[in-house]
Symmetry: C2
Subunit: 324 residues, 2 copies
Amino acid sequence: MAATAPFPAGATLADVGEFGLIAELTRLFEQGEQVLVGPGDDAAVLRVRTGHVVVSTDLMVEGRHFRRDWASAEDVGHRAAAQNLSDINAMGGRATSLTVGLAAPAELEAQWALDFARGFAEECALVGASVVGGDVTRADQVVIAVTVLGACTVAPVLRSGARPGDVLALQGRQGWAAGGLAVLGRGFRSPRVLVEAYRRPTPPYDAGLVAAEAGATSMIDVSDGLLAEAGHLAGASGVRIDVRRGAFEVAEPLHAVGAALGADPLGFILGGGDDHALLATFDPADVPAGWAVVGEVLEAAEETIGTVTVDGSAYEGPTGWTHF
Amino acid sequence: MAATAPFPAGATLADVGEFGLIAELTRLFEQGEQVLVGPGDDAAVLRVRTGHVVVSTDLMVEGRHFRRDWASAEDVGHRAAAQNLSDINAMGGRATSLTVGLAAPAELEAQWALDFARGFAEECALVGASVVGGDVTRADQVVIAVTVLGACTVAPVLRSGARPGDVLALQGRQGWAAGGLAVLGRGFRSPRVLVEAYRRPTPPYDAGLVAAEAGATSMIDVSDGLLAEAGHLAGASGVRIDVRRGAFEVAEPLHAVGAALGADPLGFILGGGDDHALLATFDPADVPAGWAVVGEVLEAAEETIGTVTVDGSAYEGPTGWTHF
């Protein structure tokens, strides 16, 4: 998609108005063949060939999930889409359609909204999904609400199927976004590769289906912290999980930022989210190529269901992110 | 559903935490037989028997779309659901499933969120729809993001099919919510029936399908003002519409509030939204019982496409609500 500049420089949302904004946003969203009725009516109408639809929704709030001085509008668009597309990936499915709601101050530059939408649409195009509807309204801070619809060609992989004897495996970059966030939080801009990983995560969009086809017994995407997500798998499955510290390869940029900030780089990997890597459990014989085995699923007593240990012991660092 | 009080009196969202809140919210949401996987995984999985899904999304922002001192949490829940269910009604369809995102200050009483969710679920139950997923996070003000999925048993009715010679018809209470809002805006609480109409709209959920089956050529729900919505039909259809002032029955409470506030009660009807009445166009022979003919569809010259007149003249009052 070409860059668009349909509004005068500096024009705000109040200047261009709701309908002016919607008209330009809609032009950015190309509609796939699954879209029978696209944006502009009371509702969109989508073709469903699979007999089911997979649906998930997420909110992103300015100052909490993103900062406009830390990432461009286009980056925020990419991230907002990626985080939702990843939820379908984590079911072993493929996203087809998204809706996006944008609440924003009237003083926001209209160009920010367009750049956000362009980044959002570009990320969706990576998996062939279309933006089929949305809403814009005024609020004190920017709030982005995304709903994603998708489909599975094999049975969806839930969080609840992990069994003692399974292994825990990871696919995709993990800890990079957390490293980038730590860097930005100190006012730095390098290592650039980590900052970029935070601004535009690159979820392994093909890995979810591969895992499902390989017989993954449970799966989740790492949005809020690896140990926290492992805990969700363990809790839903009625088991516990032990993670092996030595199983993680610590990439060079994470070593660099750990040294610079005086932090254990493994902390970014175990406690970090936002890369949208996939975490899944498999029978040891079923682990697909490219997945790293990082732990094992263990039988739990009533009081240890849902717990996650690291090399057999409780982990002392932060395990993840909570929203209140 | 019984009232729930699982949290200590006065407990805030920060006190109960994200997972404590989600656990209680989820308990409120009964799952219909169309739900294969409900809340609690990366995504919900829904059975689709019709080969398509109809989807719409809406945002509601505290201070803009609702005030916590003007309506109870339960009322806000009813309204948030109603406004979205109504979008599917306006396609001639039936809602099956919804997701709801709640962004709120950490200081918000947890009970507010529960009461909101109960009202929301009660409204959804009126049409047999289930709340299948959601998200909660922290923000400076309450923002509610709803996405609704549904299905049509006949072809969806779009905004774009009105033809010269059709009549414009209305089904459902119209202007009552606007009257109630005007009353609340002056610090009054009566006529109570109007205040209640604002707090809990009662959309004609069965009328959309009836209209579709009768052959409605275009349809929309009145959320932002009757004349504005008529303009959307006219614009999408490439026609113009004339509305007849004398066609509207002005209910007694609207006369009362008009007299009290020194306003023309017809202004609430022509400019008001929020009741989620349905506005549709039909061949004059096709208008179903219970629909009031309130105008006619006329051929438009290029420059009058999308315009709406009242008794042949431009209307001087407010025609609807805009979001920036």
